[in-house]
Symmetry: C2
Subunit: 350 residues, 2 copies
């Protein structure tokens, strides 16, 4: 495809497949005039959807794939038997240099495993950190790792900071993103050895972001920093705790608002406001797989067309930025900071 920006799309991924993906591509095509799209998946199903999207004429090519990776397939299985599926082929197009970025709303674990196998990591970590855009009082905070890398030493945490800051700059236009390290308090001597060492490295290194020190759990929804860094164990538990809290409060609210005739009537009148409130609790539409040799973006499985278009927008922005160069630059600075590392931080955990 002869376009300055080519995006490869897993047309079969997500809860709705081509029925949402193709209209999402049409919305994205309107927003990104220079982009062309490679649509991987079932030819007939995609053609049927394309017929309803005349604006994609000449902008999209179908690449037929017989097979699909199921939403519940194990990552190991996806790696063994995924070749030729729509997801695999979409990522492969990035590897082959045919596309600048890939987007899928499919099985997250499979997408991560396939991307890792085909593209390999550009940074020294086992797998891409899971990234979440955490909603809060002042916008969103990019939080990572929320589950992929469970054991993290100090350097790994600094690598998350580098990846997260590069992503946040592109996705949210922050010239010099602020970065915080998740901890149990803000004083230097708080926390375990890994966070205290990472804190020292982040202060010592000359990175392309503004390191602000330690932040705490409630700083995530306060949006105190643009990027909050933590290990995949703590991050996963924090994320699921927040989701659980939101669900619990939602249920309590429903109960409180239907407890009496008066409150039920009030809730009916306030319906518009309550719906807006519920929308705020929806999962974010796009998460990048960071640290690969190539851009891959995961769209939420239940995304609607507009949200899938948002995920394509993130992929396009990453592909067109100097994202990869910035990461490489900062990785070199991390190596320098480690070489000049001050004597190990000591002192009790609290």
């Amino acid at each position: 495809m002869n376009r300055s920006l080519v995006l490869s799309i897993d047309a079969m991924g997500g809860d709705h497949g081509p029925g949402v993906v193709v209209p999402g591509v049409a919305i994205a095509a309107g927003r990104i005039p220079q982009a062309g799209f490679l649509l991987f998946g079932d030819q007939a199903a995609i053609e049927a959807e394309l017929a309803r999207c005349p604006t994609l004429e000449g902008r999209a090519e179908i690449r037929h794939c017989d097979r699909v990776i199921a939403m519940d397939e194990k990552p190991a299985q996806a790696v063994r038997r995924g070749k030729g599926t729509s997801m695999w082929s979409a990522v492969e197009a990035v590897k082959a240099g045919e596309a600048h970025a890939a987007v899928s709303a499919g099985n997250t674990g499979a997408l991560m495993a396939v991307s890792l196998l085909l593209l390999r990591m550009s940074v020294p970590m086992d797998r891409p950190p899971l990234v979440v855009s955490w909603p809060g009082h002042k916008g969103v905070t990019t939080v990572l790792d929320v589950g992929a890398n469970v054991d993290c030493d100090a350097e790994r945490l600094v690598e998350f900071a580098i990846l997260g800051a590069a992503f946040h700059r592109v996705a949210h236009g922050a010239a010099r993103p602020t970065v915080g390290l998740l901890n149990v308090g803000s004083e230097d001597m708080k926390g375990h050895e890994e966070v205290r060492e990472a804190h020292a490295l982040l202060r010592a290194g000359d990175f392309d972001f503004d390191y602000r020190g330690f932040v705490e759990g409630d700083d995530l929804s306060k949006n105190t920093v643009d990027v909050a860094v933590t290990d995949g164990f703590t991050g996963n538990i924090a994320l699921k705790t927040a989701e659980g809290t939101a669900r619990y409060l939602g249920a309590e609210l429903r109960q409180a608002l239907t407890g009496s005739l008066l409150s039920t009537l009030g809730a009916a009148l306030a319906r518009g406001g309550l719906l807006k409130f519920r929308e705020k609790m929806n999962p974010p539409p796009a998460a990048p797989l960071l640290g690969l040799n190539g851009v891959v973006v995961k769209s939420h499985g239940g995304a609607v067309d507009r949200q899938f278009a948002d995920a394509i927008g993130v992929a396009a922005d990453l592909a067109q930025s100097d994202f990869a160069a910035e990461i490489e630059r900062n990785m070199t600075r991390l190596t320098a900071a480690v070489a000049e590392q001050p004597p190990a931080v000591d002192g009790a955990a609290e």
Copy 2:
């Protein structure tokens, strides 16, 4: 004091001092007929409050203390200069055998430091875990450690399970509390080495509770288990994340309900329900300091009299239970389980 149950009370602690503590004691005295109370603090201030609580006649003795530990005093300072304060003296009465349990609504860090110094730990850990009663869909889950012990090996996590289960049984009347270990997934190979080893020990040991395996962050507000165990780093971040999420959603809800005339009117009508909802988000009234040679209960600093009485109730229940014996029994079983520990669990983190 010649009573079968004597409770020593820091009458000066909390945001309101004797003005809330003494009425709280009066409520507790009505609920616990066998109890007598030692009230530590300023004689004149306590006498003025006692004059309004005739039911405490003959049930309460004032022990005058000139000094008070301030709410913002550092724990180290409290330890150095706290002797003779109301908090110190209340804990000292437990050490001296004059009282069966102590209750304070004062400075948490100071109460922990002073209790640790005077009573010492009965279990091999540096300091009492912070315990929180986590509200959720089906009641409460006892969660520990939410911040005191940041570095935890497998045995420490099992010790938290032992302490938490003993507390939950007394505080919530569960004959055989269910216990879960907080992790990033439910399969055996998930998580880091410490949780996998603790999982093996909890399954191998013959403890007085029902170990249910791994639970995840959203299981806290689902109340999937009675007791959820985690290290003080993860627990603190989970707790503060939940608090932050609740505050954020509260603010969003307020905004959504005042966004239009109709929703404002609706919110006014639903006021009763919304107030009930807000009450659910209040901090729990009482937290025990577990693992000491003696019972100490922290009441929330902003507690009202009824909540302070609840904290006294928890202290009385602990003092009258076989709580300490149960902990000792299970600690012996942990030692046995460690001795028979299966070969180290291996396998990747995920």
